[in-house]
Symmetry: C2
């Protein structure tokens, strides 16, 4: 166990005081485990909750395990119901009970009931509501008396007597309007409220496209139940992007950069195992042509070229489709147009590069027919790669499987198998005859 000396600890402590909780979270996440827990030990319990919320998976759980139940209760006390609902899921049953008993908040109970992947899980429940028939002056007086409006509230919500959502009244409107005006004449009804069960990725798209700062959330009866602000949406977008990048390598967001070697190795082993199956499938295909390779050993030298070029071309198409699906740019309506275009691109690049590789191979082994087989296999594989690059993610999406996770492995399987089979197959038919 490495130790920070006293001077370093003192410096760390004073540095911590100048940081925001999310910044301390980043710092902790970036530290090797020994240092991480030493730094965590000097964090004040009051901010522990706010630091744990932006952390995920292993990092968060490890820190919780290194914290006393008493400190966790203090830290949790400072959190908004939504954040607390997210966090207590990682507490031990005992600590969770302590926290929940202390809070005893109906909002917390509601927050615990919502699905984290929907608007309900994203929203906060503290909304300020007003009626449509009051004047701006009455609103101003109410706000001054209540003192409940906080910095990140850019709007009030207008509801009827039974709490049905009617519209929003931006703070800017209150501030610039004649105090005698009635709210109903001023409120903004152009921003539709968001249904409780809308998936978070759709919520993010709405915020992005409409450049809004906040929106109301309504239940199935149109009753206002909460609000979502754009800073929550920022986190959603970052997490989605993270997920897309990590899952293409078989990784997930739960991963701690500095988790113990055994834990990391075990996680990654699964992905390697899946790919081992693919690799042996390719080997099996090559094995079918052992006799051919035994005759012409140059085939063994050149065969990775076809497979690798197919993999590269296919992954370009695959990446465009996965991104297109995520951004709702590709759907069944335009998939066919896109497929035809990609097939044409694949065939065209296949032809161009097949000439290049054919000439290189022919010159290298002074064997023109060999070069022609290589070029022919390349055209076949690049066209098939384009087809697979479009169809695999569409198929996976339809089956409810994340294309970002499984797409790459399946594509490589296809391009390897077709690459080796077309090259060695063509060679067997035409060169051994």
């Amino acid at each position: 166990m490495k130790d920070l000396d006293d001077g370093a600890l003192y410096e760390a402590r004073s540095h911590l005081l100048s940081l925001y909780p999310a910044e301390i979270a980043l710092l902790l996440r970036s530290l090797p485990i020994d240092y991480r827990y030493q730094l965590w030990a000097i964090v004040a319990p009051e901010v522990m909750g706010q630091i744990l919320v932006p952390l995920q998976g292993e990092v968060r759980i490890g820190l919780i395990e290194h914290t006393s139940a008493q400190d966790l209760v203090i830290g949790a006390n400072e959190l908004a119901p939504r954040d607390l609902a997210d966090l207590v899921g990682d507490f031990s049953a005992e600590t969770r009970d302590k926290v929940l008993r202390k809070k005893n908040d109906s909002r917390l109970e509601a927050a615990l009931a919502y699905d984290g992947h929907t608007a309900g899980g994203l929203m906060t429940m503290d909304v300020l509501t007003i009626r449509a028939d009051v004047t701006v002056d009455a609103v101003l007086r109410l706000l001054r008396v209540q003192k409940k409006m906080t910095g990140n509230m850019d709007s009030l919500f207008v509801v009827d007597r039974t709490n049905h959502y009617q519209g929003m009244l931006p703070a800017a409107t209150i501030l610039t309007s004649d105090p005698l005006m009635v709210v109903s004449k001023l409120m903004d009804v152009s921003i539709a409220a968001i249904p409780l069960n809308m998936p978070v990725s759709e919520v993010a798209t709405i915020f992005e496209h409409r450049d809004i700062l906040s929106a109301g959330v309504i239940d199935e009866n149109g009753l206002l139940v909460g609000r979502i602000t754009v800073d929550d949406v920022v986190d959603v977008i970052r997490e989605e992007a993270d997920h897309a990048i990590l899952s293409s390598a078989g990784l997930d967001e739960e991963h701690d950069l500095f988790s113990p070697v055994l834990v990391s190795a075990k996680r990654r082993a699964v992905w390697l195992g899946v790919n081992l199956f693919t690799a042996f499938l390719a080997s099996w295909v090559i094995g079918l042509f052992e006799a051919t390779i035994d005759e012409i050993v140059a085939l063994a030298v050149l065969m990775p070229v076809v497979a690798s070029m197919g993999g590269i071309a296919g992954s370009q198409t695959l990446t465009l489709v996965i991104r297109g699906l995520a951004l709702h740019q590709i759907s069944s309506a335009n998939a066919m147009s896109f497929l035809f275009k990609e097939l044409a691109v694949g065939a065209l690049n296949g032809i161009v590069w097949s000439v290049v590789v054919a000439l290189i191979a022919a010159a290298w082994f002074s064997d023109m027919p060999l070069g022609m087989m290589l070029g022919g296999a390349m055209i076949i594989n690049l066209t098939c790669a384009a087809f697979a690059g479009v169809m695999i993610p569409l198929f996976l999406q339809k089956r409810g499987i994340d294309p970002a996770l499984a797409g790459g492995v399946l594509l490589t399987t296809v391009t390897d198998v077709i690459g080796f089979m077309s090259f060695l197959g063509l060679a067997t038919i035409f060169l051994l005859a």
Copy 2:
């Protein structure tokens, strides 16, 4: 040229009226080119500018080419200086002059001068400023008279007599405070203003970590020059994520899903060419061992397994490092700890899977020594892959080359070369002796 019939056009037109500009932009981007221009023809010139702004590269330029200069001038007229400055770069010189002559706005000139990748390019210049020594009541009266505060302004900026930034006054504070209070007692000085030349990715990190809705932008003398709101930051985060995903496949954001086949094929050909070099390098390595393969053809069958497993393991490490660098989780301070951890993970998985592949290969070819060579090569390649996965992106970053773009190709080159060389090398030394 395919044509939409009159009924479809009528339907499209009424559908368009219900969409936000950014939503129309998404729709246009998702349409094959013929349909795209037919739909564009029925868009009102007044909203054309707002639709073009969120579009990029080829899609935007194509639409501009299909629009009369007169319509572009009308569309541009509705835009904020910042958006206009971004857009006119894609106009023809003649149209640009027309637009700029018509606007003749000092703010636009300033916007044209800022670098798009810094806070200056991201900010908007319409800020509302007040002095610290006035009362809330005076602020309220000023806002009502000016009527310049708009919906996305959540705060006013407090400046001194010479426009030096001093702090922010959130709308919520104005609304909840006693009208007789003085601004200096109420203003929020905790949110530091953002320097004009701060890179946009740093700006995004600040907004994310601090959950703020807006911040002031200051020049080198501390003078307030603009403000950035979180909805601009949302676009930055989305673009960065897009860039990371696309560049790993050698693609860029300029790409139009439906660009003509020739244009697409040309763009992708470059990347295929780069990878062809890698593929032939691997072939060259195999070629060095032609004599060995000629003796033992099973080597040709099994050799892709070592290369492919190395590529997979290395790309997991590479992905973690590239993401870690982007999120500022990995730096020179902790890179060594991470390297040692990854080397241990690579070696451990190498040992585990080497046993598996050795047994499979030994059983398949009834040749235990062959299996052992395969297993040995696997341990070597997975350890080297971990080393390359950490060092390549760190090296590229230091050299100012985007690791997301070049990292994958370089890594595959290393894992292919070392994979083939270690397996065929071990076999040459031990099996041919």
